[in-house]
């Protein structure tokens, strides 16, 4: 009888229905009742006391009740076995249950499992051996992770888990496959195969969700979050966290609380991170995932939050009792923040003097190297600083190239090296090798090229402009600027302005500009712009702008400076956006850019889609704008208006070589964005086409449009979540990263009625031979002269290079 109960319990597990405390309770829901009925029927069938028809009937009821098909597959599997094999399987499972009970403390020797496998491996019923292989793989995986088993045994872990998976699947079972899937994900991580790990965890999440096994779903999600973080897919982390939070509470799930805190810190949301951690100490955790590290992790995160909040003393106090290399790194960072660079170096050296988790100095992680480099820079040991930070940079670049292929998800500098470390490296190189070299280091790192190519490209860019090229690299606490004048002379400086400071000022300016749609641009707004100009613009650039009216310049905004509306900054009595042709230039990626657009080229114009019956308002301004584009050009554009503004027409335009003008809505819609292009976490950004069809930024990037120029006359076509080292993830970036040479875009919302004037002036200038930056300046000026508020004209921006 006991054996029967055990078998019934195992079957319930196999079907994903938890064994209820009172099996006869009338309160049981229909799913559990049908699962119990199926388990009972199967037990009787395997024991030879029940018939196949009753089993299939119970499977049918279960399938209809739950929508699941595994019970029918399980019934078919056991019906295919000889009666003796079914009975022998029952006996084996009874023995396995005892083994599983012994392994509940997760400490068992391998001999009994090996003996059981010898006995069950050739049995006709594959399920008992599958359970044994799965448990064996799980215990071995843990031993490898703990360091109590050789790392080489990861191969064995994988082989056993794969064998278990195959056997369960042969038996038509789903729920028992969750354990080997989890083990396979962990084994892949141990072997450094993040792609394989991600696929296994993803499958685990999917199957656990389908079978209602929340504990396994949690484990799969925690694994997937780790994989996403590893390859810099921050938006995917957000989406996975939201899924975990939909069925787990951070109060009772440390993994969730921890990952949410990390995400807040990654976004520099320091106050929120501190509040969050204080409210969510690790009181409940999965022993197999978190073990005793939970408390250390919690304290380390608290210390990190204090550090980012510029409270080095508090960080040091929290880190005092932190063990191992983690504690040493936190104490080093706190000492550095407190201005004690020597102490920081001592802590880092101490962390490498043996003990668990310590590494030789040459094997330090990227974060420890970055800390060491910053400490050396503080001490004026420039050469050593450069040597250490270059090593960190090379390591980050290797990790970057190991990341999953596909559209840009993260950058070596933004996610793994950190812009602060890159800023420190560039500052050290500027001191030793000059400002131009410093800028080349930044561009080479962010553009994934070599310093020589990046330096040449920067010089060439500066020479094609009247006022040169200015670069800002905004780190967590400091900003490095470099100004390369047209004659190649380069100067540099460092500002005590960090990411949060720059984002704050940028947001205030953008708010002030957008508010002009309903109110004036006040003197206090202008003073805001003057303040940003006075603190951010290099003095050599200001001198050049003051000396010479008009002209062009290139702004290489790296990090948070991407958000600054430079068009609004006033120098020499006029906003930059009205007086100067501004190129906002990203890191140069494609050496084979399409040729620049010329005045004779025939354009493709698409937009003003027919939107009847959709949630989107028709755009009469966009229609008029597109219909009249031909007035500006010698060749009539190829028009796709209204019902013809279809996905097929859009794709054809993207695959062609003609410059493209798009006038429509930009929208965010719910979606899980693995590739962070457009929108915010959990949102996908795209362009609206006929019938309300939305083509997303990710879809555009996948087509790799190599156009000479695209004009995106829609709201916030360059706006998107900011990813350090990569830039804002808007629709425009999908074109530029696909290979399009230049884009004329908007930084925020624009009015349908005001935009056409600017766009027609833009095209008149382009047809007259102006380059995109100058044409954009004329468009802004035309709107301003016509009395349009700054909300309309300052939104226009030219991205790319001359």
């Amino acid at each position: 009888m006991r054996a029967r109960c055990l078998v019934a319990a195992l079957l319930l597990v196999a079907l994903g229905a938890a064994a209820p405390a009172a099996q006869e309770s009338e309160e049981l829901d229909a799913a559990t009742r049908s699962a119990l009925a199926f388990a009972g029927a199967l037990e009787q069938f395997r024991a030879g006391t029940g018939d196949e028809a009753a089993l299939r009937s119970a499977a049918d009821v279960f399938g209809r009740t739950t929508g699941r098909t595994d019970a029918a597959r399980i019934a078919a599997y056991y019906a295919s076995l000889p009666a003796e094999a079914r009975a022998h399987g029952l006996v084996l499972e009874q023995r396995f249950d005892a083994l599983r009970a012994r392994a509940s403390g997760l400490a068992t020797d391998e001999a009994p499992l090996r003996a059981f496998l010898d006995a069950s491996d050739r049995a006709a019923d594959a399920v008992p051996a599958a359970h044994a292989q799965s448990l064996f793989a799980r215990l071995l995986a843990r031993a490898v992770e703990d360091g109590t088993a050789d790392a080489e045994r990861t191969v064995e872990v994988r082989a056993r888990a794969l064998d278990a998976l195959a056997r369960f699947e042969r038996a038509g079972m789903t729920t028992p496959t969750l354990e080997p899937l989890w083990v396979l994900g962990r084994a892949a991580l141990t072997a450094g195969d993040a792609g394989e790990a991600d696929r296994r965890f993803d499958e685990l999440v999917r199957r656990a969700g389908r079978t209602g096994r929340d504990a396994w779903r949690e484990r799969g999600l925690v694994g997937a979050i780790g994989c996403a973080r590893e390859r810099g897919a921050l938006f995917r982390v957000d989406a996975l966290l939201a899924e975990l939070a939909s069925f787990r509470s951070a109060d009772s799930c440390w993994a969730l609380a921890r990952e949410a805190a990390v995400q807040l810190l990654v976004r520099d949301d320091v106050d929120a991170a501190e509040r969050w951690l204080a409210a969510h100490p690790p009181v409940a955790f999965d022993a197999e995932i978190d073990r005793a590290d939970a408390l250390v992790e919690w304290r380390a995160l608290l210390a990190a939050a204090a550090l980012r909040g510029a409270d080095a003393g508090r960080a040091e106090r929290i880190a005092e009792e932190l063990p191992g290399p983690i504690g040493a790194r936190v104490r080093a960072a706190a000492a550095l923040e407190a201005g004690r660079a020597e102490d920081a170096l001592r802590e880092l050296d101490g962390a490498n003097r043996g003990g668990p988790g310590s590494r030789a100095p040459g094997e330090e992680g990227i974060d420890a190297l970055a800390l060491r480099g910053r400490a050396l820079l503080r001490l004026g040991r420039t050469d050593e600083c450069i040597e250490v930070l270059e090593r960190a940079r090379r390591r980050a670049q290797r990790r970057d190239s190991d990341a999953l292929p596909g559209p840009v998800r993260a950058s070596a500098a933004g996610e793994w090296l950190g812009l602060s470390a890159l800023e420190a490296l560039a500052a050290a190189r500027a001191e030793r090798d000059g400002a131009l070299t410093a800028a080349a280091v930044v561009e080479a790192t962010l553009g994934r090229t070599d310093e020589s190519t990046a330096g040449d490209a920067l010089l060439a860019l500066a020479r094609t402009t009247d006022h040169g090229a200015a670069l800002w690299l905004v780190g967590a606490d400091r900003t490095l600027w470099v100004h390369v004048e047209p004659d190649g002379t380069a100067t540099h400086g460092r500002l005590e302005l960090g990411r949060r400071d720059v984002l704050r000022a940028a947001r205030r300016l953008r708010d002030a500009a957008r508010a002009t749609r309903t109110g004036p641009w006040s003197a206090s707004d202008a003073a805001l712009g003057a303040s940003v100009a006075s603190e951010l613009l290099p003095p050599t650039l200001v001198r050049s702008l003051t000396r010479t009216k008009g002209g062009s310049l290139a702004l290489l905004t790296r990090g948070a400076s991407e958000e600054v509306p430079f068009e609004l900054l006033e120098v020499g009595g006029a906003p930059l956006g009205l007086a100067r042709a501004l190129w906002i230039s990203g890191p140069r990626r494609a050496p084979t850019d399409p040729a620049p657009v010329d005045g004779r080229t025939r354009w493709t114009a698409l937009g003003a889609p027919s939107l009847e019956g959709t949630a989107f308002a028709p755009l009469p301004g966009a229609r008029a704008e597109l219909e009249r584009l031909g007035d500006a050009h010698p060749a009539q554009p190829k028009l796709h208006l209204g019902a013809d503004a279809t996905r097929a027409a859009f794709v054809e335009a993207l695959l062609g070589r003609a410059p493209l003008h798009v006038a429509t809505h930009v929208v965010d819609r719910p979606g899980t964005v693995d590739r962070p292009l457009g929108g915010a976490p959990g949102r996908e950004r795209g362009l609206v086409l006929a019938g309300g069809d939305v083509v997303t930024a990710a879809e555009i990037a996948a087509l790799r449009p190599r156009l000479p120029l695209v004009v995106l006359a829609a709201c916030g076509s360059a706006d998107g979540a900011l990813l350090d080292g990569v830039g804002p993830r808007g629709v425009a970036q999908a074109f530029l990263e696909g290979g399009t040479r230049a884009a004329i875009v908007t930084q925020w919302s624009v009015a349908d009625g005001a935009t056409p004037l600017g766009m027609l002036c833009l095209h008149a200038a382009l047809a007259g031979g102006a380059d995109p930056a100058e044409a954009t300046r004329r468009a802004r000026a035309a709107l301003e002269r016509a009395g349009a508020p700054r909300a309309e004209w300052a939104a226009l921006r030219a991205l790319g290079r001359p």
Binding site: S531, V542, F616, R785
Partner: protein, 361 residues
């Protein structure tokens, strides 16, 4: 009111609005001699267009940019970080204007605070503070004594008394502007005696932080600033919202974080804050969604001393719907959209009120 009814049903178009030369004349209406202007006004479509152009002109003038000193003059007058030396002739104008605009005066007073990190290499020649500026500051109880700022040169910008309508804009663009104006805009509701529309944007997205935004009328009583309502777009599955309001140090660096003046947590997406004195503010909000802390962003707004007409309109003592509509229109046109929204709540329930109070798109 239909267009024909406005003209008594008898007016017939006599002006060819497809002729670019006519369009350009209309756009330059303020340069026309009275006879030509009168001739144009006899045409209903031309008159409608002229009305709209005048309405835009009025809005631009009412918005103060032409009446106010140029921003760089104010900045120089206040000795802001990096400002060039101010000129005596401009200072006299600036001082008169500041006397009538206390908010801007407060700005210039505090501009003299030393910036945290000057970056410009060239310093101004040392010299004593301008006595007139000093006297004015003393009168306004501003602080004394400051280091000389470093220079960012400003050239006074010529002030524009009337918009230079399309001085060189291509005629195709001008014609388009006319087409757009005739095709309807956000002022239609106003002309019909209703509430103003928001402009049609090429987007269907909106940040979660709704109001306050832009400029808010300072004062007490029934004014919005006396009991500001912070509105957040409700977030799916959010259990609570946390708001933080910071007052920004007026005239100091744009990079300053500001001082926290109020924080509140509520399960509702609408929170009522404490009275706000004149100044520049920034509010940020967070939500707890499925137990996770989510940043909803930040938005700036200013509480400003407005003229008596705007203050009276925002004060909301009259509840007659016609008067309320007039107040809403006046506040909206003057850029006090938050106050206009606040005032519109006094309208009787209905489609018009719901449309106006709907979250902006």
């Amino acid at each position: 009111m239909t267009h024909e009814a406005a003209e008594g049903g008898g007016a017939r178009p006599s002006v060819d609005l497809d002729d670019p030369r006519v369009v350009e004349r209309i756009l330059r209406y303020d340069d026309l001699d009275p006879a030509e202007l009168a001739a144009l006004e006899r045409d209903p479509r031309a008159r409608q267009l002229l009305d709209q152009l005048r309405s835009v002109d009025r809005f631009l003038h009412a918005g103060a940019p032409d009446a106010a000193p140029a921003p760089e003059e104010l900045y120089a007058y206040g000795k802001g970080p990096g400002a060039a030396p101010s000129e005596g002739a401009h200072d006299a104008d600036t001082r008169r204007w500041l006397a009538a605009h206390p908010e801007e005066a407060a700005w210039t007073e505090s501009l003299e605070e030393q910036p945290p990190s000057p970056v410009f290499a060239e310093a101004l020649a040392p010299g004593a503070p301008d006595p007139e500026v000093h006297q004015h500051r003393t009168e306004n109880a501003a602080s004394a004594g400051h280091e000389r700022p470093r220079a960012i040169p400003f050239t006074p910008r010529p002030r524009r008394r009337t918009p230079a309508w399309l001085a060189w804009t291509p005629l195709a663009a001008a014609a388009l502007l006319v087409a757009m104006a005739l095709g309807g805009d956000g002022e239609r509701g106003v002309m019909a005696g209703g509430l103003p529309d928001s402009p049609l944007l090429r987007s269907a997205s909106e940040a979660p932080l709704l109001f306050p935004r832009g400029r808010v009328v300072a004062g007490d009583g029934a004014l919005f600033a006396a009991a500001p309502v912070f509105e957040i777009a409700p977030q799916l599955r959010a259990t609570d919202y946390r708001i933080e309001v910071r007052q920004l140090p007026i005239g100091a660096s744009a990079f300053e974080p500001g001082r926290v003046v109020w924080t509140e947590t509520s399960s509702a997406a609408v929170l009522i804050g404490p009275a706000l004195e004149p100044g520049r503010y920034e509010w940020s909000a967070r939500a707890t969604v499925d137990g996770i802390d989510v940043d909803l962003g930040a938005r700036s707004f200013s509480v400003v001393a407005a003229g008596s007409a705007a203050t009276a309109a925002a004060d909301g003592e009259v509840s007659d719907p016609t008067a309320v509509r007039a107040d809403v229109r006046a506040l909206h046109a003057a850029g006090f959209v938050t106050d206009a929204r606040h005032r519109a709540r006094a309208l009787p329930p209905g489609e018009e009120r719901d449309d106006y109070l709907a979250p902006p798109r």
